[in-house]
Amino acid sequence: MTATLTAERIEVRDFDDFQALALRNTWQDGLPLVPPTEDRVAAMLTYCDRDPSYSYGTVAPFYGNATVEKLAIIAVMAGCAPEYFPVVCAAVEAVVQPEFNLYGLQATTSPVTPLVIVSGPLADEIGVNGADGAFGHGNVANATIGRALRLVLVILGGGTVEPQVDRSTHGFPGKYSFCAAENTAATPWDPFPVQRGFDRSSSTVSVFGVHGFHSMVDIVSDDAADLMLTLSAGVAATGTNNMTHGGEALLVMCPEHAAIVGNSGWSVSDVQHFLFEHARIDMTRLPEGFRTYLRSRRPKWVDQDRYPVVDRPEQHQILVVGGTGIHSVYLPSFGSTMAVTRPIVDAGGNPVPTLAALRS
């Protein structure tokens, strides 16, 4: 296997010398990296049946070629176990799709990064956390898969803070890593990829170009409409890119909130239509100058006092992630981006429900 790897070989003195090399070349995110030795890279390729020269596309804005070989090297650097590699590849394939607008996401002053959501049997098999603490620390798969994608954006895409290509005004903690599983065991609805036409037995990776993380607590509502009114008020946040651009907006419901709504017979479409009707901004609170600005962006809505954050109900995307508790999360999007879902498949394009099918 290693005979087919064409990457330049570089000799370093030791672990620390590799960190210095990575720093000089801006192959880094500020944290220590695992040296990508031949043995480790070969092990990473165990769960990939594609040729190392196969490319998933190019990564904006530098348009470096995302070959299997480079992705394996970077996945090693991020600390991924080999069984995570199919997810890393699918995530990269997803973010390079034109509708995701990675060129805009990498450049923007907004606090934006891809959120990676793994759905299906493979998420359980490799241990991606979609329950308690899913967006936080402490799970190796979540941490390193998300980190690997970020390092791909930096190393192959050139999305560095210095030199200043990534121009995010504040940055975003998710720019270190932002990956979780969908909590398909706890959702009262079809899993997100099934809503998008994928088979229930498929494993998939979905990416969302998210713009912040706004938690919303409601411990008292036990009625679906009451709870959805609380969440709608949070989704109607002013100043988001959804407000200025429209586009898709992601509501991540905790299992307890999802159960209240789903067990009352509400479908995902019902939730989307309710949000579209009730997650509206009171335009009378805004100065005329800002309204004038919005008139050039979303003219259809500006002269309505109740201004929606998306243009169509189905642009409210609904996911169930998280564990015990009554906190749901609104993740507005970059606006000029669309979520992309990619199935985890082998080189022949056949779905890979479990790792055994990929082991070479």
Binding site: E11, T37, T108, R297, S336
Partner: protein
């Protein structure tokens, strides 16, 4: 004990882009303005269009995209209907990058372009032009911030950029 590591550095794609040939003089040319819909951009661009007309351009055409942070749907139309194109004005990260990208895509159709951004985004767009394969693509900066300045101030700035823009778009006739 030395370690041998594999380099993660990407193989760069071979550049297939070359700058469009520059026409001789402004006389008779149609100027295309690709507005990115940022506040103030239309003031700067339309004033530049008027100044170029005063200097001999025959006509000015104007397109404004709905959202600054994505591609302009008017790239092909502008390349077809205009002889020289000004794209901008990028005053944030994604909109400056996309104004540049719109311009470079017009160049790929064989029309000369310049891109306008605000000062903090000049270095990054130059780096990106290099990465996209057209190092040295003409990019000029206006003072930042742009959105809160008076129309008169923006017109004055357009006037100060005019000479450099003309030099970048046409050969001395």
């Amino acid at each position: 004990m030395p370690i041998t590591v594999l380099s993660p550095a990407p193989s760069r794609l071979e550049s297939t882009r070359t700058g469009a040939p520059r026409p001789e003089g402004l006389g008779g040319l149609t100027v295309g303005l690709l507005d990115n819909n940022k506040p103030g951009a239309s003031i700067i661009l339309t004033h530049l269009g008027e100044l170029l007309r005063q200097r001999g351009a025959a006509d000015v055409k104007y397109w404004c995209k709905a959202h600054p942070s994505g591609p302009s749907p008017y790239v092909a139309e502008a390349a077809k209907q205009a002889d020289i194109v000004i794209s901008g004005v990028g005053d944030c990260g994604s909109c400056s990058s996309w104004s540049l990208r719109d311009a470079l895509d017009v160049e790929a159709h064989g029309r000369p372009t310049v891109t306008l951004v605000s000062t903090p985004f000049l270095a990054k767009t130059r780096i990106e032009a290099d990465a996209i394969g057209l190092a040295g693509a003409p990019i000029f900066a206006v003072e930042h911030p742009m959105a809160t300045r008076s129309d008169a101030d923006l017109r004055t700035e357009a006037e100060s950029l005019l000479g450099a823009i003309v030099t970048s778009l046409v050969r001395a006739g």
